[in-house]
């Protein structure tokens, strides 16, 4: 009977390695090339034109 802690360690490392490989593959594919544009995908032109009272100088 394999000690349970050992089984978890092995499984964790295996999943971790898979996760790293997935990450490397995504990087190669260019998923992280334009990270700033990704953060701005929620905005459209109207958001930028809106007046916000807390931005107006006193």
């Amino acid at each position: 009977m394999i000690p349970a802690s050992f089984a978890i360690l092995v499984a964790g490392v295996a999943i971790g390695v898979l996760a790293l490989l997935a990450f490397m593959w995504a990087w190669r594919r260019g998923e992280f090339d334009d990270i700033d544009a990704q953060s701005r995908v929620i905005f459209d032109a109207r958001d930028y034109r809106l007046e916000r009272p807390w931005e107006t100088p006193e």
């Binding site: 009977m1 978890i8 499984a11 964790g12 999943i15 898979l18 996760a19 997935a22 995504a26 998923e31």
Partner: protein
């Protein structure tokens, strides 16, 4: 499109991994749990009483687990003479470990308070016996009858006069009797079966003698 499927596979993998570690692996580890010879399966009445316990939410104020003496003071408080082990719960589907101690731990209440009448009065009106108690009263598990209407088969509960309903007799319904049957079955004082698992059961040489109900130093004999 690929991104979507990658995301879905990734999130499924994380929960899958956790399910393997916390649900599947324990299944494998716990499959050969020794069934203690001293522990009997619940009788029909006790099983019914267990359902009454669940239906009325007793587990939201009462736990059913004694924590290890090396970790904390459950044993010193008199709630058991050893830590609870997985074998104690083999007949519990599901185990009612509980997460609150608004009221005391009950895993050994059958040993601490083996008196049926005490439990019946306590369920009908907790403050009749424990005046500082905030436990809800359960009069709906009982029937209040005129003394003339009492049948020979009725289980009459002798409520203290100052708390009893005027001029009437309190009779326990089957659910109340079943619940008390279940509570009295809650005793796990036999020695913990030895297993190979870490963190469970003291080595056989240091077991407490069977049948002891509490250690010296407990500040209260009542719950």
């Amino acid at each position: 499109m690929t991104r979507v499927w990658l995301l879905l596979i990734g999130v499924a993998a994380t929960v899958g991994f956790a399910a393997i570690v916390l649900v599947a692996l324990p299944r494998v580890v716990l499959i050969d749990l020794p069934v203690p010879t001293e522990l009997q399966p619940y009788t029909e009445a006790q099983a019914r009483g267990r359902q009454v316990y669940i239906a009325n939410g007793c587990l939201y104020c009462h736990s059913q687990q004694v924590r290890d003496a090396a970790f904390t003071t459950d044993v010193l408080r008199g709630w058991g003479d050893r830590a609870s082990v997985p074998s104690d719960y083999v007949y519990d589907r599901p185990a009612l470990l509980g997460t609150m101690r608004t009221g005391p731990d009950l895993i050994n209440v059958g040993a601490r308070l083996p008196d049926t009448e005490w439990h019946l009065i306590h369920l009908y009106d907790p403050r009749a016996l424990v005046d500082w108690s905030i436990m809800p009263a359960y009069p709906f598990l009982f029937e209040e009858k005129d003394s003339a209407a009492v049948q020979p088969s009725d289980h009459v509960v002798r409520i203290p006069v100052q708390r009893a309903p005027a001029g009437r007799v309190v009779v326990a319904k089957p659910d109340a009797l079943a619940l008390v049957d279940y509570l009295l079955s809650l005793r796990r004082l036999y020695p913990a079966p030895v297993t190979g698992m870490s963190g469970h059961g003291p080595p056989p040489e240091t077991q407490a003698p069977p049948g002891t109900t509490g250690a010296a130093g407990a500040a209260d004999a009542t719950p």
